[in-house]
Symmetry: C2
DNA sequence: CGGTATCCACATCGATACTG
DNA sequence: CAGTATCGATGTGGATACCG
């Protein structure tokens, strides 16, 4: 409650959307901090700009716009603007974008199974 | 010839090691440009510092050192220094590091199948 | 051989303010 | 609602030089 549409995006593991979580992995972390998360949010269906801002807590509209444009440019998502007031824009995975599901699942599975080991190693590391 | 040990690292797809190739994806592209490639190089066995510099063309020793330290800190690789002259250091995947194979394979498979579509979309994009 | 030590260019990200 | 426009902090990667 008070969290808006956050519950529409079912978390796949406890802190998957937490900043810095290594499960933000996916084929699209090519120096882009948010693209993988956006794709994850869109896996369940089309989302509006403001709906994406909710689970991606902390992202500014500027950065979210840049991320969405990059994904659109690479053919991963479509942008559909409806001529209404107030304006409504929906983002949706393309068929190409949906092919990302498999590798992302593999990465999420890895994170779910091995993240604790990574964290433990990091904490045990001198320094 | 003249390429040193490059052929020891069998390329999994034509330009997998090319700079900017989206197959450099893997769980370790968390803002790190080279870690995924390093893990890939180590999948076939232990490698020396200078052996890693060959396939990762363009990486400086400074950046390679940082990358290796980060992977070591996260428990993905071990560093073994042999007390010889000239010095010899070997890097090797840990058992945790080897678990990265599955998600990385999934990413490589994705790239091999869908990279052309991404590139085509990018070229067709206005601007 | 296997690194360190500096310095620097560039890009990404974020904060803030404003708009149709 | 869905952005755009600036500006600035931060940090990552690269160039170069040097060391045990």
């Amino acid at each position: 409650m008070g969290e808006g549409n956050f519950e529409r995006v079912k978390p796949l593991s406890p802190d998957m959307f937490a900043p810095g979580c290594p499960s933000n992995l996916t084929p699209f972390r090519i120096g882009d901090k948010w693209a993988g998360l956006v794709v994850q949010c869109l896996e369940e269906g089309p989302r509006r700009f403001s709906e994406l801002r909710v689970p991606l807590r902390g992202v500014t509209s500027k950065v979210l716009t840049e991320t969405l444009r990059a994904l659109e440019r690479d053919g991963m998502i479509t942008r559909t603007a409806y001529d209404e007031t107030p304006p409504r824009v929906e983002y949706e995975l393309t068929s190409l974008g949906r092919t990302l599901f498999e590798p992302m699942e593999a990465c999420r599975k890895w994170a779910a199974e091995h993240l604790p080991e990574l964290v433990a190693a990091r904490e045990a590391y001198p320094g």
